[in-house]
């Protein structure tokens, strides 16, 4: 690294300008954290940390707030959407790297990545007007019918199918995160050295056995990173779920009930909060969301970096 630039005054100016621009990222991260903490200080004082996180109260009239119903909604929709998305995404990655003829690889990857470019509000509106009626008229009654009588499982599908519920929201979320998981998995699969794969083929392995026993074990670190990254995305998704989740501050066991996630509560109530403690509690929720997603994304980044180091060796 030549340090020539120190000698020229114009270089000192230019390098400081660029330095300020790039340090703005650090300032932003710290600034967001600091502002959210100071704005929610009223609620932090009133409700504490563990009490806020563990309370299911959400009562703007009495001024009593807790985050648990929102966290529950966020965790449940995220978990369900990953459950639906991961098999499909890994399937797509296997198809693109191993099964598809060469001329289809590019177009199919590009098409899947276009899914990621569609804005979340479009997903939300499509979910409200198109997916939700399909869910309430066909898919949810069907799920109710086949699970009826099975202990525990039938609890998940109690109640009237309305289409505005946890299940619909999770399906939409899963469509949104498929492209992230799929494209990272594909990149990782592609990095498997062909010599390792060829050795497996040489001792008579089938294509599936190569994928299962060579490609996936070799790339599991990166794939895992990709999954955690999608998890981080799903936690913070707002508009796609705001349309189809209702805004119901209760903990429900049925997937056919409306619920609330942190993001949906913020989107619906933030502009309407009419007193200090209400607003402060909403800032508190935003802080919880920021910390949750920051930690998740940092973990994802850690695994992806580790994977990158492994493959570059």
């Amino acid at each position: 690294m030549p340090l020539l630039y120190k000698k020229n005054p114009a270089d000192i100016v230019f390098s400081s300008v660029t330095a300020i621009a790039s340090f703005s990222v650090i300032v932003l991260v710290i600034g967001i954290f600091y502002v959210l903490v100071s704005e929610s200080s009223l609620a932090i004082e009133r409700f504490g940390i563990t009490k806020f996180l563990a309370s299911t109260d959400w009562d703007p009239v009495r001024g009593s707030f807790g985050a648990l119903t929102n966290i529950y909604g966020t965790v449940l929709t995220t978990f369900l959407s990953l459950l639906i998305a991961i098999p499909v995404a890994i399937g797509i990655a296997i198809f693109v790297t191993e099964v598809s003829p060469d001329f289809l690889k590019g177009p199919i990857s590009a098409a899947i990545e276009l899914l990621a470019a569609i804005p979340s509000i479009i997903y939300g509106m499509w979910g409200l007007f198109t997916l939700s009626p399909i869910m309430s008229n066909h898919i949810e009654p069907f799920l109710k019918k086949i699970t009826a009588g099975i202990p525990f499982v039938s609890i998940l599908f109690e109640g009237t199918p309305m289409g505005i519920d946890i299940l619909t929201a999770s399906v939409i979320l899963s469509i949104m995160i498929i492209p992230f998981t799929a494209s990272i998995s594909r990149d990782c699969f592609n990095l498997t050295p062909s010599i390792v794969k060829e050795s497996a083929y040489a001792i008579g392995a089938t294509k599936w056995e190569v994928v299962k026993n060579v490609v996936i074990p070799y790339s599991k670190l990166g794939v895992f990173g990709g999954i955690v990254l999608s998890l981080g995305r799903a936690i913070g998704e707002t508009m796609a779920v705001a349309f189809v989740l209702g805004n119901n501050h209760r903990i429900t066991t049925s997937l056919l009930d409306a619920a609330a996630t942190i993001t949906v509560t913020l989107a619906n109530e933030f502009a309407e909060a009419d007193n200090d403690i209400y607003l402060s509690s909403l800032f508190y929720l935003a802080l919880v969301l920021f910390v949750m997603s920051f930690i998740t994304l940092a973990i994802a980044k850690y695994f992806l970096l580790k994977a990158g180091k492994k493959y570059s060796r």
């Binding site: 100016v13 230019f14 790039s22 499509w126």
Partner: protein, 280 residues
């Protein structure tokens, strides 16, 4: 059945399933885009772009205010976010290349790219809207700019790193100071890549709704004053789609169609440029 047969059948099943997965992915894409296309084109008419909204519940009217507002907010966000991002990326790839601090900022930016946009909205509400006492177009533009900065910064860094070091050495050898080397040699070499990054970051923020909900808010009248609440297409779509009137729903579809097409065209152009410039 012999063991060889079971293995073969297992393989065929697994490969069929993975093909099915790809079909499922494509099915969603076609389903969503087709739906937006059909509903959107049906609701599209010239009045949508030239009229302001009619009073609630009355047929007719357009979304001129939202189209203009969206353009203004996106433009201002670009004017703030792009220079900051490009300059920041320059620092990481040039002056701080290989230093710990560059690595750290780079990782932080990667995280910031995925941080929930609604959190950025609450942040801007606290630092811009609350002190000034009212929602404003500027608040929305700043929120979008904050989302843009890490995106542009990371692509700029990557693109500058791709420019061969020997090219800089050649310029150094002629006695050029570093800033001249960067501006006249490195930027030129990486121009296509940086521009693509900018296009993709515009595509990214043009569809954002959550950070605008409580920054630029909404305005049912035509306004180009960035100091006042200003309408945007995405927030209007949210309001209209959740509203009770059929005519609102139709206009929401039309607006979604326009936003989606704008973003898809930008994204496809960006990808084509990358392929043309860096593809095999």
């Amino acid at each position: 059945m012999t063991r060889a047969q079971t293995r073969k059948i297992e393989g065929v099943i697994a490969m069929t399933l993975s093909t099915l997965a790809a079909i499922v992915g494509l099915f969603w894409l076609v389903f969503i885009l087709g739906d937006v296309l059909v509903h959107g084109v049906n609701a599209l008419n010239a009045g949508l772009f030239t009229n302001d909204p009619a009073p609630a519940g009355i047929e007719g009217g357009g979304l001129r205010n939202a189209f203009v507002g969206q353009l203004l907010i996106t433009l201002c966000a670009t004017l703030i976010g792009v220079p900051a991002g490009v300059l920041g990326g320059t620092f990481l790839a040039e002056y701080a290349r290989g230093r710990k601090i560059a690595k750290m900022i780079s990782i932080l930016s990667d995280i910031m790219v995925s941080v929930p946009s609604i959190v950025i909205g609450t942040f801007i509400y606290a630092v811009v809207v609350k002190p000034s006492g009212h929602f404003s177009g500027w608040a929305g533009a700043i929120a979008l700019a904050i989302i843009m900065i890490p995106v542009v910064l990371r692509t700029t860094e990557d693109m500058l790193t791709l420019v061969p070091w020997t090219l800089r050495e050649a310029a150094f050898a002629l006695g050029a100071p570093y800033y001249k080397v960067i501006i006249q040699i490195v930027y030129r070499g990486a121009a296509a890549g940086i521009l693509t990054g900018i296009l993709l970051s515009i595509a990214r923020v043009a569809g954002e709704t959550a950070p605008l909900l409580f920054t630029s808010f909404n305005n049912s009248f035509f306004s180009v004053n960035m100091n006042e609440p200003i309408a945007s297409l995405t927030v209007t779509v949210f309001q209209y789609a959740m509203g009770p009137y059929e005519s609102w729903h139709a206009q929401a579809w039309a607006a979604s169609f326009v936003v989606t097409m704008f973003i898809l065209v930008l994204t496809i152009i960006g990808r084509l440029v990358i392929k043309w410039r860096f593809g095999k």
